[in-house]
């Protein structure tokens, strides 16, 4: 056990901090502190240009192994990267679904074809991804997906039919990874495939859904004979569940590191506000702020303690790391409430008509999603109890 970062890590910190200082300027200045939770719909084009700027500097996909074009950063270095990124106020990453979910999954489970076709666009920041998991009938019970994939031998293509829902940033995305049934008679975990599907085609229809924030980050996605090439399936037909679960391991582990490092900025804002408006004198608010501060520190230590074993592997989390998502999502939810309570009655007043939220209002509303996506808190607790503690699995009712 040791606290100090290695010299190499400290050099790495200087390097990224210096790069950000020199490059987050000019046209990118306006993006500072933008594009976070609740603000993800803002400046999409500018933020994609920024993504490409990062790529030029070699600062996308820093956690990927070097052979795949990443920097091969350790967890410590990734923490450093995201800390400096947040400290500089650099904007929310439009490419995070590709970088954090699609890419690592393609690296762990894909073949040369997938890796050569898809990784370069993610690395370059030119191709954005979305996640086609949830369906109207398949939320927590993801294995209940009904979208079908049929192989058309004459055309040499897979044809997809069905509906996805809650698909974040589908309206910006170039590709979607889709779980669909390759065996139409199968149920549950069997008979699934993991597909890589281009969004810009006649068979794909994206319809935005308005969220409680008034904005639309997520969508419904309809597949009507949507196509992908014969090779655009990761893993064998029927074996998609293992791939889908590997991806969820990434989603519940390292992929949110970047977001968490932004939490410090959010807490700093709330502390500053509390000092300014006198809430900092309220003993209860003081307790809550101290608690938020303590738990945020611990979150960083958790990341280093729990996620170190995960890089480069198949996404599966070690036992201790199963608590990781539940802990940070609850922390973030509580922070949203703290923000409103520090503001007092003023928390109601919008930034503008018709429904323009302030940053903290947006935080308060948007954190409510953290305990839902990527496996709800209830599902996380099931997983912790079953996989972490060896308690019995939830009984399933017979199919109707």
């Amino acid at each position: 056990m040791r606290l100090e970062f290695s010299e190499a890590d400290e050099r790495f910190r200087k390097e990224i901090a210096g790069w950000l200082e020199n490059n987050l300027t000019g046209e990118f200045e306006q993006l500072k502190f933008r594009g976070g939770p609740g603000d993800e719909h803002m400046f999409p084009a500018e933020r994609q240009a920024w993504e490409q700027k990062l790529a030029e500097g070699g600062w996308t996909c820093v956690g990927w192994p070097e052979v795949y074009g990443g920097r091969g950063c350790t967890i410590e270095q990734q923490v450093i990267f995201f800390e400096e990124y947040a400290r500089a106020g650099a904007p929310g990453r439009v490419g995070h679904i590709g970088e954090g979910l699609a890419g690592p999954t393609i690296i762990a489970f894909g073949n040369d074809y997938h890796q050569q076709k898809y990784l370069p666009g993610i690395l370059a920041g030119t191709e954005l991804w979305c996640q086609g998991y949830s369906e109207p009938g398949a939320g927590s019970d993801l294995a209940n997906v009904k979208t079908k994939a049929r192989f058309d031998a004459s055309a040499g293509k897979w044809l997809l039919n069905g509906q996805k829902v809650w698909t974040s940033l589908a309206h910006e995305a170039d590709f979607c990874f889709v779980i669909a049934r390759t065996d139409p008679d199968s149920v549950g975990h069997n008979g699934l495939g993991f597909f890589l599907v281009a969004m810009d085609q006649p068979g794909v229809d994206v319809r935005p859904i308005q969220q409680l924030t008034g904005t639309s980050e997520f969508n419904e996605v309809f597949f009507d004979d949507a196509q992908c090439d014969a090779q655009d399936i990761v893993g064998e037909p029927g074996q998609g569940w293992a791939v889908a679960m590997g991806l969820l391991g990434f989603e519940r582990g390292v992929s949110t590191l970047g977001q968490q490092m932004q939490f410090q900025n959010e807490l700093n804002d709330i502390v500053a506000l509390a000092k300014e408006n006198g809430a900092a004198e309220d003993p209860v608010i003081r307790q809550r702020i101290a608690c938020a501060h303590a738990d945020l520190k611990i979150m960083r230590y958790n990341a280093m303690r729990m996620l170190s074993g995960q890089d480069g592997s198949d996404g599966s989390l070690q036992k201790e790391a199963l608590i990781y998502k539940l802990f940070w999502s609850n922390w973030h939810r509580d922070l949203g409430e703290l923000a409103m309570d520090v503001m007092g009655p003023a928390h109601q007043v919008l930034a503008g008509k018709p429904y323009e939220l302030t940053r903290l209002q947006s935080l308060f509303l948007f954190v409510r999603a953290d305990t839902i996506y990527g496996g709800t808190n209830e599902i996380q607790r099931n997983i912790i109890a079953e996989r972490g503690l060896g308690m019995p699995k939830e009984p399933r009712w017979p199919a109707k």
């Binding site: 056990m1 606290l3 303590a294 280093m304 109890a385 079953e386």
Partner: protein
């Protein structure tokens, strides 16, 4: 940065767990807690002379093993897990730290060599103000008066809640010079327990696994050579000692929280109702999941604090973070242990309410430890003060 135990630390931990699972059994705990000193003297002798635990972070030139606070924390975690009744905490995690921080070479050589051989010590510092406003742990609670008398001092007053105060062979006593207040005037003394004028009574406490005492000082003479550090300037060393002790206590609490989770999972898997193990009920599973979450979160906080404690003892660059790390670790671990033991009690049903089952022993130890060295509320207020009451907030 790295939060994994080294192979050597892992070995220490495993050896401690193996030893304690054999020696600190339910029967042994119950015998110890009813015994006169509150612990098993033979077992303590073995721990000192065969396992050398009290030597863990004492320098080699004083007969110690010269390991660090991380190793100490690894041991403490296991002692907490097996609810060991022993003077280890008062001796090693309180008094030894005071000696390391404030003692001169001669004092260290004499007393630390004694500790290595199994002699017991404690730290006595709190007056009645300790219980004000639900528990105070700052300099204001040092109330015992040290009246200069020739080269030496005379101590007069009463100290409360002194851990193992009635059994310790030597007391390290914090007192204040007359007409001083707050951080000023605090002085630390070495006082052998058999000094004339010193009387001690064991308090009857709800938690019977760790003794507390009231200590009366009636013109107790202390020679100049038994002053630790400089007269009147003891607060800094005392505060650091209390922070180090809080971190060690937090480690013990992580061990306790772990055991509560382990016992609960085992019990709920075995106990059946409605023709199924109660562990299959989601209400039970989710409570267990929350127990594990609290435990692992507290563990991260404690391991980090252990590294900072080592920095503080070695005057490393991060030593300034000690109070913050101690408050984070202590508030988090105290709550984790208390909530886990309360959940364990609930999930054991009626048997959890019996004297026979061990859950209540942990529950009571958790409550006692929660208030020892600062409740979570007290520690959070200290953090809030760091964050909110100064111009430069301690962020990042």
């Amino acid at each position: 940065m790295d939060f994994a135990f080294s192979d050597e630390q892992e070995m220490i931990r495993e050896a401690a767990a193996a030893f304690l699972s054999e020696t600190s059994t339910s029967d042994a705990i119950r015998r110890a807690m009813l015994s006169e000193p509150g612990y098993d003297r033979d077992l303590w002798r073995r721990i000192a002379t065969e396992l050398c635990w009290p030597a863990v972070h004492i320098d080699e030139h004083c007969g110690g093993m010269g390991l660090g606070y991380v190793e100490l924390v690894a041991l403490q975690e296991q002692m907490g897990r097996y609810l060991l009744c022993s003077p280890f905490f008062s001796t090693v995690c309180m008094a030894v730290n005071a000696l390391l921080l404030a003692g001169n070479r001669q004092q260290q050589a004499q007393y630390l060599n004694g500790v290595v051989q199994g002699q017991t010590m404690t730290l006595a510092f709190g007056g009645t103000a300790a219980a004000r406003r639900g528990g105070q742990w700052g300099p204001e609670i040092v109330e015992l008066i040290a009246q200069p008398d020739g080269d030496g001092y005379r101590l007069t007053g009463t100290q409360h809640y002194v851990v193992d105060g009635a059994s310790a062979e030597t007391l390290i006593v914090a007192a204040r010079l007359p007409n001083t207040a707050g951080e000023k005037g605090i002085s630390i003394f070495l006082v052998p327990a058999n000094t004339a004028g010193l009387t001690r009574e064991t308090l009857a406490t709800m938690d019977q696994t760790r003794r507390q005492a009231r200590v009366h000082y009636d013109n107790v003479q202390v020679a100049a050579e038994n002053l630790l550090g400089t007269a009147g300037e003891g607060w800094s060393a005392l505060r650091t000692t209390l922070d180090l002790a809080a971190i060690a206590l937090a480690a013990e609490q992580v061990g306790g929280a772990q055991q509560m989770l382990g016992m609960t999972v085992a019990y709920t898997l075995e106990r059946e109702q409605f023709n199924r193990p109660i562990a299959s009920f989601q209400a039970v599973k989710h409570r267990a999941a929350d127990m594990m979450t609290r435990l692992e979160v507290a563990r991260s906080g404690v391991y980090y604090a252990a590294c900072i404690a080592q920095e503080a003892l070695a005057a490393g660059p991060l030593a300034g973070e000690l109070s913050e790390a101690a408050s984070i670790a202590k508030s988090t671990a105290s709550e984790a242990f208390l909530l886990n033991s309360a959940d364990a009690l609930q999930l054991h049903g009626g048997v959890g309410f019996t004297w026979e089952y061990d859950v209540h022993l942990y529950f009571k130890r958790a409550k006692a430890g929660e208030h020892l060295l600062g409740s979570p509320v007290w520690h959070r207020e200290r953090l809030a003060n760091l964050l909110l009451d100064h111009e430069q907030a301690a962020t990042s």
